[in-house]
C-alpha cells in the first residue's frame, strides 16, 4: 500500500518542479546578445526607406539602425561625419564636395560609392524634397569617393537640410534598389548601418542583426528586436515581466507606476519637439482669435507646470517658443505664467466676459492627453473648445491641407534649425501656415538671402521676437519622451544624441556587464 502511494507523490513533485519552467514566459529566456524594445507605434515599411522620410522623427528609430548618412547628429555633435569623412564648400557657396570614407560597405558586401550617394539624393521624395530639388542644380561624381553637389544659388542651410532635415543624405545601394524596385526594397532593405535586416512581421515585430563590417565599430549586441506594442499599459507590463528591455513612451500614471517598480528605470529624454497651440483663425477678422488679447488670455489660462507634472512627471521643458531650444539661431522668449484672473480680464476687455464657444481643438491621438488637459484649462477660463483627436497621418494631412479651423495642437520633432521651423510654421507659404504677417515675411526673405551668419542670426531672432509679441501661438512645452529601461540593459542609447527620442547610436548599445 505504502509503495503505491509513493509514485504518485513523486510524479506530483516532479511536475511541480517542472511547471514553473513550462509556464515561464518565453521571452525572458532571451539568449545572450539580444535586446528587445517595446515600440509605441506600428512600424510602417515606408520607414525602411530614407527616400520617403516623412519629416517626423519616428522613422529615425530605424534609420539609425539600418542605414547611415554622409553626416548625421551624433553624441555631442549636431553634424558628425558619417559615411563622409569630410566635406568642403566652394568659395561662392554653390558647390559642396563630400569625401567618402575608405572601405565602407553595404550589408550585402557592396562598397558604398559616390554613385550611391548621387542615386540617393536624386530618388529622394520625402519631406522638403521640393525645396531640395528646386535648389540643387546637379550632382557630380568625379570619382568613386567624391561627390559634388551643385546648387543654383548659395544656400547656407543646405547642409542642415541635406544631413538632418531630409533623408536625402542617408545612402541606399543603387544597384540593389534598381534590381528589386522600391517595393522590393521595402520588403528586404539593405543599408550601410550597424544592423542588417533579418525579418519583419507587420504590426508585430522587426528583427535586426549586427553588421560587423560597420565602419565606426562593430555593434555589441547581436540581435535587436523591435516589438510593436501600441498599448501603453501592455508595454509597461511587458517591461515589468522582462519580456522587453526598453519600453518607449510611458506617461502619466503609468510612468509613476514605473518609477515605483524596483529594477526599472525611468529615462526621460527632452527631445527637440516643442508642442504648441496654433490659433488658426487669428487672421479672420470675425473670429474672437483675431484679437491679440484673446490669444494672450489663452496663454495665461494654461497651467503648464501642472500639466507637465501630471503627464510627464515634470520632465518636459516649459517653453515660450515653438522652436527647440537646442536649435541654431534660437531666441529665448519669456514663458507665460499661469494667471487665470488675468486671462479672464483680457477676455472681458476683448468683449467676452462670459467666454465664447471656441470650436474644435485638433490634435494627434498620441498626444490627446495633452490636448485633453489643455482644453480643460481653456474651458475653465471660459474658452469652450471641443477636443478632436485624429490619427497621426490624418492629423498631419488635415493640418497641411488647411482643413482645420479654430485650434490646432501643433508639434514637430524634425531636425533642422530655427529657420527651417519658421519656414514650415510661420512664414507665408509654409507647409503648416494658415496666415502670415507681412513684417515677418519681409524679414524672412531677407535672412534667406543673407550669407553673413551673424546678420542672419539677428534677423531670425527678430522674427522670433515678433512671433512672441503677436502671440501667434500658445507654446506648451518641449516634450520629454519618457522611456522605461529594464535591468538587463547596460547602455540603452537613450539621451546620447541631443534631442533624439530613441536609442541611438545602436552600435553603442550594450547589455549589462558587457
Amino acid at each position: 500500500m505504502r509503495h503505491r502511494g509513493l509514485l504518485p507523490v513523486l510524479l506530483v513533485l516532479l511536475s511541480a518542479a517542472l511547471l514553473p519552467a513550462a509556464l515561464a514566459p518565453r521571452a525572458s529566456a532571451a539568449p545572450e546578445g539580444q535586446l528587445t524594445w517595446a515600440v509605441h507605434v506600428s512600424l510602417a515599411p515606408t520607414w525602411f526607406d530614407p527616400a520617403e522620410a516623412p519629416g517626423i522623427i519616428t522613422p529615425y528609430m530605424i534609420y539609425y539602425a539600418l542605414h547611415d548618412a554622409l553626416a548625421k547628429p551624433m553624441p555631442g555633435q549636431a553634424m558628425a561625419p558619417g559615411l563622409a569623412e569630410s566635406w568642403s564648400v566652394s568659395k561662392d557657396g554653390r558647390v559642396y564636395e563630400f569625401v567618402l570614407r575608405n572601405g565602407i560597405k553595404f550589408h550585402n558586401g557592396e562598397p558604398v560609392t559616390a554613385e550611391d550617394v548621387k542615386f540617393s539624393l536624386e530618388r529622394y521624395k520625402g519631406a522638403a524634397s521640393k525645396t531640395l530639388k528646386e535648389r540643387v542644380a546637379g550632382v557630380d561624381t568625379p570619382d568613386a569617393r567624391r561627390v559634388r553637389v551643385r546648387l543654383k544659388q548659395p544656400w547656407p542651410d543646405f547642409l542642415t537640410f541635406y544631413t538632418s532635415a531630409t533623408g536625402a543624405g542617408w545612402i541606399v545601394p543603387k544597384k540593389y534598389v534598381e534590381k528589386v524596385g522600391d517595393e522590393g526594397f521595402k520588403k528586404a532593405p539593405i543599408g550601410a548601418g550597424p544592423y542588417r535586416f533579418v525579418s519583419f512581421k507587420p504590426g508585430v515585430e522587426l528583427v535586426l542583426e549586427a553588421f560587423e563590417g560597420y565602419w565606426r565599430r562593430a555593434p555589441q549586441v547581436k540581435r535587436l528586436v523591435f516589438r510593436v506594442i501600441p498599448d501603453e499599459a501592455t508595454r509597461l507590463a511587458a517591461l515589468k515581466r522582462g519580456e522587453v528591455d526598453v519600453a518607449y513612451s510611458i506617461r502619466g500614471e503609468l510612468a509613476e507606476e514605473l518609477q515605483r517598480t524596483p529594477g526599472l528605470t525611468l529615462v526621460p529624454a527632452v527631445i527637440q519637439a516643442p508642442f504648441w497651440m496654433y490659433f488658426a483663425d487669428q487672421w479672420d477678422p470675425k473670429s474672437p482669435w483675431h484679437d491679440r488679447r484673446v490669444r494672450l488670455a489663452a496663454n495665461y489660462a494654461l497651467d503648464r507646470k501642472a500639466i507637465n507634472q501630471a503627464l510627464t512627471l515634470g520632465h518636459s521643458k516649459l517653453t515660450g517658443s515653438i522652436i527647440p531650444s537646442t536649435f541654431q539661431f534660437y531666441w529665448q522668449p519669456p514663458t507665460y505664467a499661469y494667471d487665470p484672473p488675468r486671462a479672464k480680464k483680457l477676455l472681458a476687455e476683448a468683449g467676452y466676459p462670459n467666454g465664447f464657444d471656441a470650436g474644435e481643438y485638433f490634435s494627434d491621438t498620441a498626444y490627446a492627453n495633452l490636448g485633453e488637459a489643455a482644453v480643460d484649462y481653456l474651458r475653465k477660463a471660459g474658452i469652450r473648445a471641443q477636443l478632436r483627436p485624429l490619427e497621426r497621418a490624418a492629423f498631419f494631412s488635415g493640418f497641411k491641407e488647411k482643413k482645420f479651423k479654430n485650434l490646432i495642437q501643433g508639434a514637430s520633432g524634425a531636425f533642422g534649425n530655427a529657420a527651417t521651423r519658421i519656414e514650415a510654421f510661420v512664414a507665408s507659404g509654409g507647409t503648416y501656415v494658415y496666415g502670415a504677417y507681412p513684417d515677418i515675411d519681409g524679414l524672412f526673405s531677407e535672412q534667406a538671402a543673407e550669407l553673413d551668419q551673424k546678420k542672419r542670426e539677428a534677423l531670425l531672432q527678430k522674427i522670433q521676437q515678433l512671433v512672441h509679441e503677436k502671440a501667434i501661438f500658445a507654446p506648451l512645452w518641449e516634450l520629454a519622451f519618457l522611456n522605461g529601461v529594464g535591468p538587463r540593459v547596460g547602455q540603452s542609447g537613450l539621451g546620447l544624441i541631443a534631442g533624439h527620442a530613441y536609442s541611438a547610436p545602436y552600435e553603442d548599445v550594450t547589455l549589462k556587464g558587457k
Binding site: L23, P25, T46, P202, G203, V204, A233, A238, A393
Partner: protein, 306 residues
C-alpha cells in the same frame, strides 16, 4: 439529402451575396466613398486618382461587379499603413484569434458540460443553484468588464498573471476566461436541458428497466445523445467567438483579428475594417452551412424529411 444540401448551400450563397451587398451599400451610402478608400492624409489630387482607380464614377452595379470580382480573387484591398494585402494581414492574425477562441471554448466546455450534466441529474440541488448564478452572471456581464476585473485582481493585486500581451500560456488564461464565460453559461444551459430531455426519453427508460446501473445509463447512453446539440452549438460558437472577441482582444492587447479591427478603426485604415467584417461574416455563414451538412449526415430524420 441532396436536395436538402443543395437548399442549404443555396441559402449560404445568398447570405454571402447579401453580406457583400450590405457592406458595399453602406460604404457608398455615406457621402464620398473615395474618402474612406484613400489613405488618411491624401491630397485632393489623390482623391481624384482613387475615384478613377476604383471607378467610383461608374454606375453602381458595375462597381459592385468589380467589387465582387476582386473578392473572388482574394483581393480585399491593401492596408494603407502596412502596405500589404489585407487578406494576408487577416490570415496572419487569425491563428492568434483561433487560439484564444479554442482555449475559451475548452474552458466553456470543461466547465459547462459537467456542470450541466450534474445540474440535470441532481435538479434543484446545491450545484444547480450555484450553476444558475454562474450562468446568470455569465450571460449578463459584458466580457470586457469581466476582463478588466480579472486584470485588476490577478495582475494588479495578486501579480500572478501578466496583464496583457501574448507569448505564453499565462497570457491567454484571462482573456480566454473573459471570452468564455458567456459561452460556458450557454453550454451549461443547453447541456442541462438536452440532458433532461434525453433522460426522459424512451431509450433511457428502457436502459433503466433493463437494470443497468444509473451511472452507466448516464455516461454511456444519455450523455452521447445529449451532447450532440451542445457540440454543434460549440462549433458555431467557436467562429462566433473569433468575431465577438474584439473588445476582449483590445483589453488584453491580444494580437488577433479583433485587435486588427480595432487598429483599423483607430488608424482609419478602412480596407482593414472592411475586410475584417466581410471575412468574419463569411466565416459564420460557412460554418453554419457546414453544421447543416453535419446534421444531415448525423440525423437520418433530416435526410429524408425534406
Amino acid at each position: 439529402m441532396k436536395r436538402y444540401l443543395l437548399a442549404r448551400a443555396g441559402f449560404a450563397l445568398v447570405s454571402l451575396v447579401l453580406l457583400s451587398v450590405t457592406i458595399f451599400a453602406f460604404v457608398r451610402l455615406t457621402g464620398d466613398p473615395a474618402v474612406l478608400l484613400t489613405e488618411p492624409g491624401a491630397s485632393p489630387e489623390d482623391l481624384v486618382l482613387i475615384r478613377q482607380q476604383f471607378g467610383l464614377d461608374r454606375p453602381l452595379w458595375v462597381q459592385y461587379g468589380s467589387f465582387v470580382a476582386h473578392l473572388a480573387r482574394g483581393d480585399f484591398g491593401q492596408s494603407f499603413y502596412y502596405r500589404t494585402d489585407v487578406l494576408d494581414l487577416y490570415l496572419s492574425r487569425l491563428p492568434a484569434s483561433l487560439l484564444l477562441a479554442a482555449v475559451a471554448m475548452a474552458f466553456s466546455l470543461v466547465i459547462g458540460i459537467p456542470t450541466g450534466v450534474i445540474a440535470a441529474v441532481r435538479v434543484n440541488g446545491w450545484w444547480d443553484s450555484a450553476g444558475k448564478i454562474f450562468a446568470l452572471l455569465g450571460l449578463s456581464l459584458p466580457s470586457f468588464w469581466v476582463g478588466l476585473l480579472l486584470i485588476l485582481f490577478f495582475s494588479v493585486f495578486l501579480g500572478w498573471l501578466p496583464s496583457s500581451g501574448s507569448g505564453s500560456l499565462l497570457h491567454v488564461l484571462m482573456p480566454a476566461f473573459a471570452l468564455g464565460w458567456y459561452f460556458a453559461a450557454a453550454h451549461m444551459r443547453l447541456t442541462r436541458s438536452s440532458m433532461l430531455e434525453v433522460l426522459g426519453s424512451e431509450y433511457v427508460k428502457l436502459a433503466r428497466l433493463k437494470g443497468l446501473p444509473e451511472a452507466l445509463v448516464i455516461a454511456k447512453h444519455a450523455l452521447k445523445n445529449a451532447l450532440i446539440p451542445v457540440l454543434t452549438l460549440a462549433g458555431i460558437n467557436l467562429v462566433l467567438m473569433v468575431n465577438v472577441a474584439v473588445v476582449v482582444e483590445t483589453v488584453f492587447a491580444w494580437p488577433g483579428v479583433g485587435r486588427l479591427l480595432y487598429e483599423g478603426i483607430t488608424a482609419r485604415d478602412f480596407p482593414i475594417v472592411q475586410a475584417t467584417v466581410l471575412l468574419g461574416g463569411a466565416m459564420i455563414v460557412v460554418v453554419n452551412f457546414l453544421v447543416d451538412v453535419l446534421y444531415a449526415v448525423i440525423d437520418p430524420r433530416i435526410r429524408y424529411d425534406r
